[in-house]
């Protein structure tokens, strides 16, 4: 039995403890805002916060999440109005939108650690998050807007 907290609610799982957190969130809890993209930590679509740190949920086994607190895109802000989400909307960042929840979770974790990141810090934080539509320019713009740094 694995016990963990997801978006502030205690939850449990009695399946394979080796199962990645990603599939628990998506298939068991129906929190489908966290996306599958590669299964190997290569694309960042599945990014969630584990005890406040951005992690790839496709590589985080359930047993590694035991006793910890998970935040998904659904739990990032009560009304979907986290400063990063608001900035994302202000610059119309998404195209298809599929990778954007992972991008937002990654960016939110960055700004928590470094409220005023420079270009290099943004690049390093976001390098693991792929966007096949090619929205990187607006993602960078949105992060700067949320951080209140010069574009």
């Amino acid at each position: 039995m694995t016990e963990l907290t997801v978006n502030g609610r205690k939850t449990r799982f009695d399946g394979d403890p080796a199962m990645p957190l990603l599939w628990f969130l998506r298939d068991e809890l129906e929190l489908t805002g966290t996306k599958y993209g590669c299964g190997l930590g290569l694309c960042g679509a599945c990014t969630v916060h584990l005890n406040g740190e951005a992690v790839r949920s496709c590589l985080t086994a359930m047993k590694a999440a035991a006793g910890k607190s998970v935040t998904t895109i659904e739990g990032l802000a009560q009304n979907g109005d986290h400063p990063v989400q608001k900035a994302w909307e202000a610059v119309n960042a998404p195209q298809c939108g599929y990778c954007q929840t992972g991008q937002i979770m990654q960016a939110a974790a960055l700004l928590k650690k470094k409220p005023k990141p420079n270009d290099q810090e943004i690049l390093e934080a976001m390098e693991g998050n792929l966007c096949r539509c090619g929205t990187y320019q607006r993602i960078r713009q949105a992060i700067k807007l949320a951080a209140g740094v010069e574009s």
């Binding site: 290569l42 998904t72 939108g97 090619g134």
Partner: protein
């Protein structure tokens, strides 16, 4: 947000509108009728619906798929504008797959292009009906009543009536003559031409958007398939004991292998059915499968490349001929030749193919991330042996498409497994499945030859391309390019007295499909690279040379310019060299081309290409460092796509195309050994990350009253040649083969 919760609901269209609503279909000539029992019964064949409810709510049915282009927002904008609807009172409802809408195949950059006029007519019809109703109510001339933001207003008296309250009266009046509608002038446009956020924006940033992979049906199970790794392979033996030991695995079922022509058929194999995605994938990995050999097991991409290049060196079928190329070549003088090669590519949308389907009582209900719900109906019906109309296809949001999700093999898989297990099935495609079982963008070889005069201008030009064609999907032995030759090859817009365009044969050994901008990718690469080579050989400025090669402003009639066969030209979209010249001049000005100062390792490169009826020119500013890494600091793209509906979304499409084109140019390559694709994830098949993408992309839109043309695809083709031309200017190294990374390593 697309609702997927009430999956059992039927009579979908009938539920959209209440019985008292005006429902307007928008085929080429709009028809009008009251909603009610007959609505959506197929009695008439509209392609789009507009409904105005008695409470004033306006509902627009989006019949095309949203994969990031913004069409789910931009098509309703057109209609709402002409209707004079208040955008905040418009609800967008996603259509089911149904031939009554006309084509729903969201592909070929044609959603706005093909429906702009029809949507305006539908909107104008609705507004006119409401204006007539107000006139009747007040006993005044209809001309004095004007629709304004959900009200009809009489200018002289200032009185006004809400759209909703006029609906019952409007319904009792004779609909206006479709040929006598009053359309808004461009100056009166309220939404068209204005940047508008997409309707799904908030859902997309909060994780509420429902993609194919997110769709659920009550009681559904999950399935992952071991497919024949070589096209045409069949199951020899299957050992599933270990798979069945995996916690959560329920059963293993066999699926019949597809036979050529492969079309959109499910490939077949062995499916592991489980209680969640992870168990299905784990179980699939534990299957021990042996496959019978297929004729395609001999396919090696390195040897295949050699064959394509050899074929490109031999005479092929002539697709366009003007003057006498051979006579000119025979005169001697300066001859320039070059051969180009581009590798096989995969689509790799961030969301792999995804669907859930239930076969029950001889019918199928599916929820799918699909670009083509009608192809889902046909493909699923053929697979499970029912009629297309007995397949109900709900379209979710698509996590990228790029052409992959026009081919619904994965939906057929879900339906076939559901038929066997008697439950709804979600088909689980891993990234490995996506890359190993794609409909690949074909590899291509291009040979070009020119005889030039003393100024370096071509007197004769021969170009020949060779690639396994998309037509192999439908006619397994087809080896010639067919319609794909019209994509940047036979339509070359240069003013050259002697010109010949050829195509050589190539047999396909994997499924070939269309990928964002299709053959324009390799054709533009060859033509725009060769143009740059000729300019360099002549010591001329590239941009000035390109303009001279395009020649004076004129309309190009390919039939008179030696085109052999091919479909008749679309009269709405003549090839206008003036528009091509204009985007080149615009991009030159915006990029600072004339004042550029090439430094060692850093330079600008230019390319221009017309595709999907849009005229595009791109200038890339890049640096090549000592280790051969390419850093693109800036891209300027000038775009003439005719009338623009939503400039923000058009700009975003070209920003994205700059990144997609960068992936194509710098890093994309799928290889094959023993008939099996070798790249299995984003490590082997990289796509541009933030650090590899252009740092800044500036889009310059030409204001135009010309009919709207494509925007989703045409930004891609100029990127690879612009990048390679810049690399040549920066380093002196000419790239004739993609990907660049392999050449500069």
């Amino acid at each position: 947000m697309i609702e997927v919760v009430e999956i059992s609901r039927r009579g979908f269209l009938g539920r959209i509108f209440s019985a008292g609503a005006i429902v307007i279909g928008a085929p080429l000539v709009p028809e009008v009728r009251a909603a009610g029992p007959a609505a959506g019964d197929g009695a008439w064949q509209p392609s789009v619906y507009l409904g105005i409810e008695p409470d004033g709510a306006v509902k627009i049915v989006a019949h095309r798929s949203e994969m990031g282009t913004g069409c789910r927002t931009c098509l309703p904008m057109i209609l709402a504008d002409e209707l004079e609807a208040d955008w905040s009172r418009v609800t967008i409802v996603q259509a089911l797959g149904d031939p009554k809408y006309g084509s729903q195949n969201t592909d070929g950059s044609c959603s706005v292009r093909d429906f702009y006029e029809a949507l305006r007519k539908a909107g104008a019809t609705g507004r006119t009906m409401l204006e007539q109703a107000a006139a009747a109510k007040w006993g005044v001339a209809p001309e004095s009543c004007k629709g304004r933001q959900h009200f009809v207003v009489e200018a002289s008296s200032g009185r006004k009536a809400a759209y909703g309250e006029l609906v019952p009266l409007a319904l009792s009046l004779t609909p206006p003559d479709a040929n006598k509608l009053r359309f808004k002038t461009p100056a009166e446009f309220r939404y068209i031409g204005k940047p508008m956020p997409v309707t799904d924006l908030h859902d997309l940033v909060t994780g509420k958007g429902t993609f194919g992979i997110d769709a659920r049906m009550p009681g559904m199970v999950y399935a992952a398939i071991a497919r024949p790794p070589v096209l045409g392979g069949t199951l020899k033996s299957l050992e599933d004991a270990a798979a069945k030991q995996v916690q959560g695995v329920q059963q293993v079922v066999k699926l019949e292998e597809a036979k050529p022509p492969y079309g959109f058929k499910a490939l077949g194999g062995a499916a592991v059915v489980a209680g969640n995605s992870w168990a299905a994938l784990q179980g699939r990995n534990k299957l021990k499968v042996e496959w019978n050999a297929s004729e395609h097991a001999e396919y090696e991409s390195a040897a295949y490349k050699k064959t394509l290049l050899e074929t490109a060196g031999k005479p092929g079928r002539v697709a366009r001929e003007k003057g006498d190329v051979e006579a000119e070549f025979g005169k001697g003088g300066k001859i320039h030749e070059a051969t180009y090669y581009t590798p096989m590519l995969a689509h790799a949308p961030m969301e792999p193919p995804a669907a859930v389907a239930e076969f029950k009582d001889g019918k199928v209900v599916a929820w799918a991330a699909t670009q083509n719900p009608q192809a889902v109906q046909q493909t699923v019906a053929a697979a499970v042996g029912i009629k297309p109309e007995d397949v109900q296809c709900h379209v979710t949001l698509l996590g990228g498409g790029f052409g992959r999700k026009s081919k619904p093999d994965y939906v057929a898989e879900a339906a076939l497994i559901s038929k066997q297990v008697g439950k709804p099935v979600k088909i689980v495609w891993s990234r490995e499945d996506d890359l190993l079982f794609d409909y690949y963008h074909s590899p291509a070889a291009m040979y070009l030859k020119a005889a030039v005069d003393e100024r370096g201008m071509p007197k004769a030009w021969l170009q020949r391309s060779v690639f396994p064609p998309i037509a192999m999907l439908f006619s397994a032995d087809e080896q010639y390019g067919g319609f794909q030759l019209g994509m940047g090859w036979t339509d070359i817009p240069y003013a050259i007295p002697n010109l010949r365009v050829e195509n050589g044969p190539a047999k396909a050994h994997v499924r070939i499909g269309w990928l964002r901008s299709v053959s324009n990718i390799y054709h533009a690469f060859a033509v725009q690279s060769f143009t740059d080579e000729l300019a360099a050989a002549a010591g001329r400025d590239r941009l000035e040379y390109l303009l001279e090669l395009i020649g004076p402003t004129r309309t190009l009639d390919l039939q008179k310019e030696g085109l052999k066969g091919g479909p008749p030209a679309d009269p709405r979209f003549p090839i206008d060299t003036g528009r091509l010249r204009k985007v080149i001049e615009l991009v030159a000005q915006k990029s600072g081309w004339a004042n550029r100062k090439p430094a060692k390792g850093r330079a600008l490169g230019i390319a221009a290409h017309r595709s999907f009826f849009s005229y595009i020119a791109a200038v890339v500013d890049l640096e090549v460092n000592g280790s051969g890494e390419v850093k693109i600091s800036r891209v300027d793209i000038a775009v003439d796509a005719g009338r623009i509906i939503n400039p923000d979304r058009v700009k975003s499409q070209f920003e994205g195309a700059a990144v997609f084109g960068t992936s194509v140019a710098l890093m994309g390559e799928v290889t094959v050994a023993g008939g099996r694709v070798q790249e299995t994830n984003f490590d082997g098949y990289p796509v541009a990350r933030m650090s590899e993408a252009p740092v800044e992309t500036r889009i310059h839109l030409v204001e135009s009253d010309a009919p709207p043309a494509g925007v989703g695809e045409p930004g891609v083709p100029p990127m690879a040649p612009a990048i390679c031309n810049a690399i040549f200017a920066a380093t002196g190294k000419r790239i004739r083969e993609l990907p660049v990374k392999k050449q500069l390593a």
